[in-house]
């Protein structure tokens, strides 16, 4: 029982970490960003290549993952995405899904269709005893990082000037612009940061998910699920949603393996029926 809950929380933490960037770009900025996985993949590849070919340690890989996600995200924002903020959501969907396919082709071209190798650093390998159960160090690490990230984001968004500026710009761009906020630059920075988080999550996921060119398509449902169930525009919502979905999925697979991975969708359906606008609804949301 203990191990099932722990594994569920760890899987949830991973779901949160790879989706939290989407809570920023889609949840906060109201931009329908189906290309989230492409930025996560950029981070994953940066980390994997650095670690495999240049022997970089895991923390360096994580930092590189963040950077790679952020840089690709920033470039995309500057050249394309800023033109689409005010477009119809359908245009945003079409553009970002196109971006997913383009990223799959690009990565296949440069790195081939095969999956990337990942060797866990020795300090994250194996198990450690915690409250009488053997738990995997890597999974424990995921939970810790998840908690740090959620705390940092909450602080950043609710307690800093930058966070206040983002909230203001998202709620009413014209008024924000009028009060002297450079909305263009702010959105560039926010989108870049969101994509950086995606890259970071992508690099962190190497120990559990496999990295090959179809990564952005393969895990898209999971990214979207966490943000939908959690509620757009918040950080606590996706965090709770990720943990719930994670524990539900793992418990379902352990206790009733015949139902397979289907349970996770039932869980999502139930949660959305109960709270159609997400677990945590943003104050003043329309």
């Amino acid at each position: 029982m203990g191990i099932v809950v722990f594994d569920g929380l760890a899987f949830g933490a991973l779901l949160f970490l790879i989706s939290v960037g989407l809570s920023v770009t889609m949840g906060l900025m109201n931009f329908v960003n189906l290309a989230h996985g492409a930025f996560a993949m950029a981070g994953g590849y940066a980390a994997a290549v650095l670690m495999n070919d240049y022997g970089a340690p895991f923390p360096v890989g994580l930092a590189a993952g963040f950077l790679a996600g952020a840089v690709t995200g920033g470039v995309m924002e500057f050249f394309f995405i800023r033109r689409l903020y005010r477009s119809h959501p359908l245009d945003q969907v079409l553009f970002t899904i196109g971006l997913v396919f383009a990223s799959i082709a690009t990565v296949t071209f440069f790195f081939g269709p095969t999956m990337q190798r990942f060797v866990m650093p020795s300090y994250l390998d194996g198990n450690v005893a915690l409250f009488g159960t053997d738990v995997s160090r890597y999974r424990l690490f995921l939970i810790v990082v998840g908690v740090i990230v959620v705390g940092g984001l909450l602080l950043g968004l609710n307690r800093t000037r930058f966070g206040a500026m983002i909230r203001a710009s998202v709620d009413n761009q014209r008024v924000a612009q009028g009060s002297g906020i450079n909305v263009d630059r702010l959105f560039l920075l926010t989108f870049t940061f969101g994509c950086g988080l995606a890259g970071f999550g992508g690099a962190l996921s190497l120990g559990m998910l496999t990295l090959n060119p179809i990564f952005p398509l393969k895990y898209m449902v999971y990214f979207l699920m966490v943000v939908c169930v959690g509620g757009a525009g918040t950080i606590t919502g996706p965090f709770l949603a990720a943990l719930l979905v994670g524990v539900g999925d793992v418990a379902g697979k352990y206790y009733i393996p015949e139902s397979g991975g289907f349970l996770i969708y039932l869980l999502m359906l139930g949660l959305l029926l109960a709270r159609p606008r997400g677990l945590v609804v943003k104050q003043g949301a329309h």
Partner: protein
Amino acid sequence: MSRLAATLLATAIFAGSAAAAEPLKLGFVAPMSGAQAEYGLQMMNGMKTYMAQHGDSVADRPIEIIVKDSGGPNPDVAKRLTQELIVRDKVDFLVGYGFSPNAFAAAPLATESETPLIIFNAASSTIPLKSPYIARVSMTLAQHAYGIAKWANEQDIQKVYTLYADYAPGQDANKQFKKIFTAEGGEIVGEIGVPLSSPDFGPYMQRIKDAQPDAVFMWFPSGELANTMLKSYRERGLEEAGIRALGTSDLVDDHSLDSMGEDAVGLITSAHYSAAHDSELNKAFVETYAEIDPDTRPNFMAVAAYDGLAAIYKVTEDLGGDVSNGEKVMELLTGMTFESPRGPIEISSEDRDIVQNIYIRETKDTGEGLYNIEFQTMPMVVDQGKE
């Protein structure tokens, strides 16, 4: 007038070149893009390897390979592409077919047009029964399952939990393993079919660990799923708990072995081919392959494509280059035996299916990367999955 002249000229040139060397057209249907693009890559490299060693023409006919990308398991697409190859390109042979559903979809077309179809991978047992124009040079899942189940019996492994990807080939492999393993007194204590989309296999492994069987039989298609599976097996410490891992080669396919790393070392699997197979022919095969594609290592699909071309070259030579009569071609293919880089093989005279050695191997770090080292041979195994 000038138009008429041009037409005449074109006709003359066409007729002239046709008389000189009509190419031998191979219609190659395989996944060339998407998640399974490596299948197509391996087969293409395998064919190129054969051509590099034996020349790119046979009986004065230059080989022309017409590539059609079927993507993943898409029977409709495979059927349409096969039709195009037969009707528009008028190919002499159909080759490739990575997935069983694709092969099944193409079977009636091969029968109708009397075009010989050589299977390079698709491994469902019944495929050759679907058309008298199909011959298989790859393998069947039942052959692999036979090898590892027999070996488990010999090792006195009694209780086995099975875990497999929940789609046709996984169900097949599971069924065959169960049939052979229980026939000699083994017991299956549990079975889990895992959906293909599952990203986290930890909970399944935990469940198996808690059930404490002697071994777990795993079947997953080669590539990422097999990799993820094995990662969980290691992470959960099943080996430390005394639960051995049994599998077929899909788990430790040569193509993905290097990216699996330490996780694969020590695994016992059964298969018909390993890049480390100890024979002169295989050494030459691996060397030529490396010249063609230094970035990958040949796996069982490359070897099947290589043997497929060997069979086609033989038939074409025997018929003096005229392969227009499909029935004659199939007559020659049936019962054909020759030496492959994997060892001796035979295209069965019973059902045009492959008969070959099945090897039991252990994955080892040889110092030059991970390889599956064969240590036991089950000679000339016939597919037993047709029932």
